[in-house]
Symmetry: C2
Subunit: 648 residues, 2 copies
């Protein structure tokens, strides 16, 4: 793959190139090296253009094609690619059947602010513009059904304004009526908007346009598109003064605070400010917490990392400490049910809360009174300024040194628990989710990439301690099950295109990083065929399948014994063999039932670094066994439901 990458980079660009070449080169110039998808009549000309003949007759791939088993999986993979690389994850689908199949992946990206671009190959312009044809994959025109002619824009209309505003539907006039730059500008603008909004986008390309010629001028004028450029080129007209004033105000509040903390949230990741925030933390040396969705942005080995705060569902140690702070600098805030412990955040009576959002700052007091809101101010700029302007020598805070960091506190508990687990009788017992919480974190090494599926086990994650630069990938709010397995494919491809891109100083770090996936059995059944693509593209990975006989997290709410929460029992350990590793040369599959076996397996996996194969580990769990945190949440939800029924 890297081969292809370099080949193409040395390749000279002609002045006039095909639209398809323009699109693929533009994507490369924004950092995307691979793309995912499924072929279809209307995108074949586009796919064919991936293979570029150089002057000396050699054929190179402009981008690496990663074929997926279906479009939804391709969308999840593209999402995973973007979450890991912070570049645009791209998928190519065919008109109607493809884009609609992929839609749940795109909606997930929209909800979770992930930069995914769906390029849709659509019928040629003479079909789109004719009033005679009803071409396959198209939907009857409900608004004017008598015409007999479909609305070829229906699928576009559905997503525009509902899912995302980043939508371009190319038309012949974009090339013909003006100089061909118009179509290039549209594409550039779309890519820019995806970066700025951190939302998915759509590019609808008529199949006959892909081979039309456009000017490559934009590529020469602007050889690279990235987040910084995108932000700068749309910098708000908010005067430098207002921006500096608010930074100054925040600094002053901080200087006065006795017990301030940083609460690090998910937009820090999406706007690529991880390094800066970690620098800010080490500069200020104040308590720092993660939100549920922000988990793994902060390097948890810092002295004052105090855990994941999620309101009432938090570990009580974390909760008590957080709720004793007098200033909360909430960076990259995203407010929703999952990220706020069902809206149960609580602050010290006099606390000052400074929310730094994607594009705004809000300062308020514990009583909810807002003292200031500044809009149109971009997160990345704010973080950079905070880092530069705050004078840590002016800080006057005093933390109680008796209060240990969360990792220190937690590790003590764990070593106790681990000792228990070592007791012979315990070690022979079946694994519980509480055991998992203790054992699994011993698997992680610095820089590992951990993909976690929606399901009961996900709730064990917040209180695990991650080594430095671990990257957690989890669709924590949209919560569409089946996402994680195909997303791992995207992450694996991302790790190949960008080894160590999540490591602060990646020039120095050569230790290989593991890719690990945790997947429930019910979720796994949704998208299982993509295991096959992990084999096809030879992605080494450790996959844990939690075999608890169905939809446990649903059983907890309702229908413990109902068949609607059952699934078919599969022979998990034979899957990879059937899906392509017939000789078992690239995979190994094991079933685990006891704590002892789990420990051995983890040791084995740790020693098998660098990962060379796919390890699938089926872990048998109790049908009604769930992590402690989830119990809290379920109680909260039930309480809320009861309260509501009383009111109505």
């Amino acid at each position: 793959m890297t081969q292809t990458k370099r080949d193409t980079e040395n390749m000279e660009i002609k002045n006039s190139i095909t639209l398809a070449e323009y699109i693929f080169r533009r994507l490369r110039s924004s950092g995307t090296y691979s793309l995912f998808g499924v072929p279809g009549d209307f995108n074949l000309p586009l796919l064919e253009s991936l293979y570029h003949k150089t002057a000396d007759g050699k054929e190179v791939e402009l981008l690496n094609w990663i074929g997926c088993c279906n479009e939804l999986n391709a969308a999840y993979a593209a999402d995973g690619y973007s979450r890991y690389t912070n570049k645009i994850g791209c998928l190519v689908t065919t008109f109607g059947v493809g884009e609609i199949s992929a839609l749940n992946g795109i909606v997930g990206a929209a909800v979770e602010n992930v930069k995914v671009l769906n390029i849709v190959g659509i019928p040629p312009t003479h079909i789109l513009n004719s009033s005679q044809y009803n071409i396959h994959h198209s939907i009857p025109n409900l608004k004017n059904s008598n015409s007999g002619v479909p609305n070829y824009k229906t699928y576009c209309d559905m997503v525009l304004n509902n899912i995302t505003n980043n939508v371009e539907f190319l038309e012949l006039s974009d090339i013909k009526n003006q100089n061909s730059n118009q179509v290039c500008n549209k594409i550039d603008q779309l890519i820019k908007n995806i970066f700025i909004s951190s939302k998915p986008g759509y590019l609808f390309v008529p199949s006959n346009m892909t081979n039309m010629m456009v000017s490559s001028a934009n590529l020469t004028l602007l050889p690279q598109i990235n987040l910084d450029w995108a932000l700068k080129s749309t910098r708000s007209n908010l005067s430098e003064t207002i921006e500096n004033d608010i930074i100054e105000e925040i600094s002053q509040l901080l200087y006065k605070s006795k017990k301030p903390c940083i609460l690090c949230d998910v937009f820090i990741d999406r706007f690529d400010c991880r390094i800066q925030v970690n620098q800010l933390i080490s500069k200020l040396n104040i308590w720092n917490f993660s939100t549920m969705l922000g988990k793994s942005i902060i390097d948890e080995d810092n002295d004052r990392f105090m855990g994941t705060y999620n309101g009432v569902t938090s570990d009580s140690y974390v909760k008590d400490n957080f709720e004793s702070c007098d200033l909360i600098l909430h960076l990259g805030i995203e407010t929703n049910e999952m990220n706020t412990g069902c809206y149960s955040f609580s602050y010290l009576p006099d606390a000052v809360i400074i929310e730094v959002g994607k594009d705004y700052i809000k300062i308020s007091k514990h009583d909810g009174k807002i003292s200031k809101i500044i809009n149109d101010i971009m997160l990345r700029d704010v973080i950079q300024k905070l880092l530069h302007f705050i004078d840590d020598s002016k800080c006057t805070y005093s933390f109680d040194n008796n209060v240990e960091s969360f990792p220190t506190y937690k590790n003590k508990l764990i070593s106790k628990k681990s000792l228990e687990n070592n007791v012979e009788s315990k070690a022979q017992q079946t694994v519980t989710q509480d055991d998992l919480q203790v054992e699994i974190q011993t698997l992680f090494d610095k820089g590992d990439v951990v993909v976690v599926e929606t399901g009961s086990f996900q709730f064990a994650i917040p209180d695990m301690i991650f080594p430095k630069e671990t990257k957690l990938i989890n669709q924590g709010f949209y919560l569409s099950i089946g996402m994680a397995l195909p997303a791992s494919l995207g992450v694996g491809i991302g790790m190949r295109d960008y080894p160590n891109c999540h490591i602060n100083d990646n020039s120095e770090d050569a230790t290989p990083k593991k890719l690990i996936l945790f997947e429930g059995d019910g979720a796994a059944q949704m998208t299982i065929q993509e295991l096959s693509s992990l084999l096809r593209y030879r992605i080494p990975i450790d996959i844990f399948i939690w075999n608890n006989n169905g939809y446990t997290v649903e059983r907890i709410f309702e229908g413990e014994k109902r068949s609607y929460n059952d699934i078919m029992p599969w022979k998990w350990v034979n899957l990879l063999k059937v899906f392509g590793d017939h000789e078992k040369t690239f995979s190994k599959s094991t079933t685990i039932s006891t704590v002892q076996e789990l420990r051995c397996k983890i040791d084995e996996l740790k020693n098998a670094n660098p990962q060379k194969i796919i390890e699938l580990i089926e872990v048998k769990l109790g049908e009604m066994d769930i992590p402690k945190n989830l119990k809290h949440i379920v109680e909260q939800m039930k309480l809320r439901q009861q309260n509501k029924s009383l009111i109505e």
Copy 2:
């Protein structure tokens, strides 16, 4: 299953019942006995209501729950259920993640006029109406993003007016502000509209409403909803006279014709007029043809069945005969690319063309001049009147008795071909798609149900001769691959709920019918996990997997050797074992490479009737081998493309 069915039918209905019970009973009363889906927080209360406690404390299931591996597959299954039974195929999904995952199945149903109802469990009304909460699975409000509150109607907005008009979003006021009948009327109306439009529909049900009480009065007043009632209750105000006049006019045209034919199209199936059309054919004894999408509606053993007409892509015998007719009575017409051989229908210069559409009649001449259009006249009424009013004794046509029916003509060709195939050397050769066309049809028996996936093999179907009352199920225009396998699950469940419902006189016919699926390897990989549900619900079926190493039909267009048309090679014959039939008690899997092996297998399958298990037959085919018909079509398409490029 039938047990449950009878149990519930004898069950008395209380005056006041829960909304959920109302919904399920109403569905039963319209003929739906099973429903498909995946659980989720917001539909659990609904699912729980499936289990109904009778007065004597016994628990019965109001409808059979069929759990699927994912929502798209559930939608395909519901679609299959409806295509087979002509009742509403129902699926239950959870808010956002569920309905969006299922969407491609619903769009397919919309495009192909299939009666599917997606019941979506959505958040409780206090959440929907609050301006405070951002609940999981929901999407930010793009129209008012500053509010921080999602638009819980986004998903509903997307489908309404784009995919279907049959959408009900239940609100508390439907129960509270008026007597509770309002909500019942809404539901009844929705079901009625699904029947009348033959389009899918949506019912959005807030999770807290499912247990609210409503009156069961509607169920007593109208104990059954069916197509006839639905049509009658919305009978157009077109006067009886106009209706009779046009029937008279058609009759007169027919009486004058020397060589008339019936061209039977897909809406005849959707509006359940199969029996009547077959009666009309035998009454009139005129030439009759199927369209591509209408295939299998006509009993092909009638003396004057002349094959499937699809313009230039037709068998030349069929084409010549069709194009020699002087009157075409095109019943149940659906006009689109696939159904018209890429718009290449051709008529005799003086021919009269009578199109009877879903809700209109159009009479025109060969030159395209329309002599009459009548709107708002329903297909089912027209067919019934034609059957009753046409006086066959007045017909004056004279068919050349030297022209054999298509089956007679075809069978001669086939016996020649079969003889060739019997030659020792040929029998040992690898199977070609031309062989398939000859051999496969020997598998079919009267009343078999044949599900055909989109892909190269599909094009071998039109010219196969089906025994009487064979039912073909194929998504012939939307063409979403992966649909057929889960659809077979729905068909299988439908065959259990309604054995023999596709048999004219099903009281007399006790011979068991086979369920047969033809599936490409690429398509199979899209939705393979649903094999597991075939095992779970013990659906006997013969499944042919065409192993031609990837996306052959795409290779033909572009990229013969490209990796984007490759798929991972699977061990097909081990799949069922892994997916739940660990001891191989309910399945058998075989690989076939030669014509001889194929013939033996077919004999074996024919003898194994009634089917008792799942037989998976992997057939190895050449990578670039396609059926004759498809070659025609590809030529047509390429020609059209070339012409277009010349024009531009």
